[in-house]
């Protein structure tokens, strides 16, 4: 992981978020992360932090994430030193900052920290099907390519839950949807996994949805956010908010 700020077009990397053209149009400043690019910021950082605290939308699709599924997956994860939430639709923060959620009794979702430096996710990322195959303790454990099947957006800020109520039928207000809770639901008529993972005191929701729909979702969310002065924000603002705690 390198934090080389670069304004070079994201397309020089092999791996490209479907949203990179939108980011480029917004004059985003990118940072490289492996062979992908992450939007660091769109404008002046201090203002962007304040925007993110009110209502921000960030594209974190370039950050690592991975999934495991199967009857043996929870057992296998524990053998790898992963802390699991007790019940499905909840998540737990790991020591290295990664977030591990249970989508069902047999399905795990692992998200990297905001730096993309989570040792756990990075150690799992190259794990291919072969290495899990049959071998104890990985029997009945199957890898899911979440980094590619799903885009990852983050909606941040105090107005986030209110904004979500324009596109989502699940009550995401703080007192009804606790830190770490997960909702698998319909967002603007597409299926999504919503994870509440606050940035210190700032409410934050990760939104994972089918990557082919992410441009549609991005536009829908920005439209719904307008009313609350919500804007796209880069990962730098999110990191600052997370560090405020």
């Amino acid at each position: 992981m390198t934090h080389v700020n670069s304004s070079q077009p994201a397309m020089q990397n092999q791996r490209r978020s479907p949203l990179y053209r939108r980011h480029t149009e917004l004059k985003a400043e990118f940072e490289s992360l492996g062979d992908a690019s992450l939007v660091s910021r769109y404008g002046e950082l201090a203002a962007e932090i304040e925007s993110a605290a009110q209502l921000g939308l960030a594209d974190l699709s370039a950050l690592p994430r991975i999934g495991f599924k199967g009857a043996g997956a929870p057992q296998w994860a524990i053998s790898q030193g992963i802390k699991l939430p007790e019940s499905p639709n909840h998540s737990v923060v790991q020591d290295d900052g990664a977030l591990v959620g249970k989508l069902s009794h047999q399905e795990l979702l692992i998200l990297s920290d905001l730096a993309g430096s989570s040792a756990l996710v990075n150690s799992l990322e190259p794990v291919q099907i072969e290495s899990l195959k049959q071998s104890e303790p990985a029997a009945q454990t199957y890898h899911l390519p979440r980094a590619h099947s799903h885009s990852c957006l983050a909606v941040t800020g105090t107005a986030a839950a209110e904004m979500f109520s324009k596109v989502c039928g699940v009550d995401l207000r703080s007192h009804k949807f606790a830190q770490g809770q997960i909702a698998q639901t319909s967002l603007a008529k597409i299926n999504a996994v919503i994870v509440r993972h606050d940035l210190a005191e700032t409410p934050c929701f990760y939104v994972l949805s089918d990557i082919s729909t992410v441009e549609f979702l991005w536009d829908c969310l920005l439209d719904a956010m307008q009313e609350y002065a919500g804007v796209p924000v880069g990962v730098a603002a999110l990191r600052s908010l997370a560090a405020r705690g």
Partner: protein, 99 residues
């Protein structure tokens, strides 16, 4: 809009679910006579009363069963499929080589 309680995800708007038809045990396909097989495939009981139905929560692709009163449209309970299906189903090989 009705609510339906998914055993995995809790109560949700029914628009989040896909209906999977009435639960209907399959007769042994290799032994049943043609008429009974045709009834299984093409006819539904469509009972007025409490029926068991398949429902799938679309966002999580989670299949479960619901007992619903078709007269009042009240859902009496929902439960995981493992409650009805708790062991592996196998089909006896009539002949052949499992190609």
């Amino acid at each position: 809009m009705k609510l339906l309680t998914c055993p995995l995800n809790g109560p949700r708007n029914i628009s989040e679910f896909t209906y999977g038809g009435e639960y209907h045990p399959m007769p042994d396909p290799n032994k049943t006579d043609p008429r009974q097989w045709a009834e299984h495939v093409f006819f539904h009981d469509n009972e007025a009363g409490i029926v068991t139905e398949w429902w799938c929560h679309s966002a999580s692709s989670f299949w479960f069963l619901a007992e619903r009163n078709t007269i009042t449209d009240q859902v009496i309970r929902t439960f995981e499929a493992s409650e009805l299906f708790n062991q592996r189903v196998d089909f006896a090989a009539e002949s052949g080589d499992n190609s």
